[in-house]
Symmetry: C2
Subunit: 405 residues, 2 copies
């Protein structure tokens, strides 16, 4: 029997059993639009944990500390602040991250090593430890506060990003929930963002790791807002085992259902980040099929979705398909002009190397929608991949011209 | 004795002896701001010629034809149109480019194979051959019309880009002139642009090739406007030998003076393209020194100058040095945070891994200027490179949202 996966209405990171959250306004952000800038996620049972971090060679202090703590492959709580990235802050930054974890551990009554720390905001400013300490002391944990957690981790995001699913497979039932923040400094290789995914399933630690890698490969890694990879990227998956199922393991009965549900949660969050990119008015979904390899398909899809000229054309509702072809051509992926087909908004504009410019008006109409599918069929072999991004607007420039000052 | 290199006042592509140009409005562009959209460059003696073309796998018809013609390493004329790229136009596009060369050859009385063809503009539209033919017939060649040539090849450029130098070395004197168009779809690996460089020096063909590669490496290849590489990039160097010097050759007496002068012309044009990038208000010059290798320095400099977040910060006058460090960190170049120094507008903001945030105000003042030097000292080894680009403004979005329609 096929597993059944259902989205939970108003689901979030505390939808799986045994997870709690809480948030407060600590004053780290001068203006916190959501009224919150510091949050804790907590599991009543210690979790098997897997994580992926930024590929940037400059890693923020919280990333360095969390990598150290997660060597145990165990976590019980996450503390996140927005407004200050605690990056490029040297030894003091690392000491501050360590102290943050320690305060949280003491307050909740868990080991410091079981606390993951994440920060997002301006680079190069010291973490205001007085505000952090006072803030942590004010946080009250509850089963409902997953939504507050989602709001507290936002920076230039305009909407919180959260979801959850229940999985029923045979007699077993468990949930997966997730929350993310995005908006800027978002680019493949773990798109720049914070994302926390929780599950009450019992999951074998090695499988947890490979499942997270697989889900990230087809979700957050296929996401670009602006080509800049941040110093603070963190994707954390925590499984607390409260559902009491036989452990999900590679090749086991529940592996495929768990993977599929995890993929859906991660893709949902990645698309939510793309849709809410800084200044974005449209979600762009680029599918490259028929590529010479999977690697080529991924490369081409990510290059098209990252192209400033494709992004501005979509913004202006201009079916300038030449920019899409040019982006594939520069991506490094194999392409033969005479074999290539191209669709914008499901309208074919280039077929086997010939322009179909009579379809421009139909494509222009399709570009008025808020979700823009772009499909490039290379017709070489079977490589297929999908990437997500957003249009580039004057608002992006406005947001980023005056972010720090 | 050291060679003397002097810029020629109002110099251009026809400053070297024996070069002629002419331009007209053929009607290919609906609105030609400069009143011109078709131009010819011609040498009264056939030239030794070297060229570099786009690395994009989708190459426009004029690029394919010019590559074919330049197998002879000889050229006598160049025909350039703006307003239509003749790219993704299949067999008809190639036939149109071939016919264009043939008409020019017949009109001037030279071999078709000695004509280089270049096009710039929208991708996927057929070249209007009726307008091309009529236009070519109207073009009158003169020694003065280098300036008209510079205007006719512009697309979204706001100013023509041209320069020339005279070189005096021992008893020998010769000139090098150059012209370029840029503005958008500009990214390293032969930045997306057309550039034509002329000299009346006698230059041995093999040296001409290596000299052009060296000059491009430190000029056009270190230039980025928007990360998109076009299908039509062409950099052509023509030497007609009219100066009558003993051939410039590798290791010969004039090699170093020729190379230096060629570098200066190419860097001048590359900087002019950066300064006039679509929507640009500031020139950004990024120097990375002390890198582990030259390759690392080039990679890091190009990544910083291409970063949308660095570009928007410069636009807004925001000394957000964290974005510069983050860009170096994601570039792939080796970096040790604790050894790194960073300067914006010659103001130090990060020294040996420590923020100097007290200098922010001074840096903000420096960012009000129109040329913004950014320097990253990695203090690892001796790799040094400089890259050029421009800020990212709302005007860039406006220009590219409505380019085609």
């Amino acid at each position: 029997m096929k597993a059944r996966i259902d989205f939970i209405a108003s689901g979030g990171v505390t939808s799986p059993a045994g997870f709690y959250a809480g948030a407060t306004y600590a004053g780290i952000k001068k203006k916190a639009v959501t009224g919150l800038d510091l949050a804790i996620l907590y599991s009543e049972m210690p979790c098997a944990a897997a994580a992926l971090f930024t590929t940037n060679k400059i890693k923020a202090a919280p990333v360095l500390l969390s990598q150290e703590h997660l060597k145990t492959e165990r976590a019980a709580a996450v503390i996140v602040n927005s407004g200050c990235a605690n990056a490029c802050t040297g030894a003091q930054g690392l000491a501050d991250a360590r102290e943050t974890a320690s305060i949280v551990a003491t307050n909740i009554g868990i080991n410091t090593e079981d606390v993951v720390v994440a920060s997002t905001g301006v680079i190069g400013q010291p973490l205001p430890m007085g505000l952090m300490k006072a803030g942590i002391g004010r946080i009250v944990l509850s089963r409902e506060a997953g939504h507050d957690f989602a709001k507290a981790i936002m920076t230039t995001d305009t909407v919180p990003k959260e979801t959850a699913v229940t999985v029923r497979d045979g007699g077993v039932s468990f949930s997966i929930g997730g929350v993310a923040k995005g908006a800027g400094m978002i680019h493949p290789n773990l798109a720049t963002m914070l994302a926390f995914v929780t599950t009450d399933a019992v999951v074998e630690p090695d499988f947890l790791k490979t499942a997270l890698r697989e889900a990230a490969d087809i979700s957050f890694d296929m996401l670009s807002i602006d080509g800049d990879t941040s110093t603070n990227d963190t994707l954390l998956l925590m499984a607390n085992g409260k559902a009491g199922n036989a452990p999900v393991s590679a090749g086991g009965d529940l592996a495929s259902a768990f993977q599929q549900a995890l993929n859906e949660v991660c893709i949902y969050l990645a698309k939510a980040i793309a849709r809410d990119g800084e200044g974005a008015t449209k979600l762009i979904e680029v599918t490259v099929s028929g590529a010479a390899s999977l690697a080529d398909a991924r490369l081409a899809a990510r290059t098209v979705v990252s192209s400033p000229l494709v992004k501005t054309a979509v913004h202006g509702g201009d079916p300038n398909w030449g920019r899409v072809i040019a982006a594939v051509g520069r991506s490094g992926a194999a392409i033969e002009e005479a074999k290539t087909d191209l669709y914008i908004g499901n309208i074919c504009l280039f077929k086997a190397g010939r322009p179909l410019n009579d379809n421009q008006e139909k494509a222009a109409a399709a570009l008025k929608k808020s979700e823009i599918p772009i499909e490039v069929r290379l017709n070489l072999d079977e490589g297929t991949a999908t990437a997500w991004g957003c249009d580039l607007s004057a608002e992006y420039v406005a947001i980023n011209s005056e972010y720090m000052t």
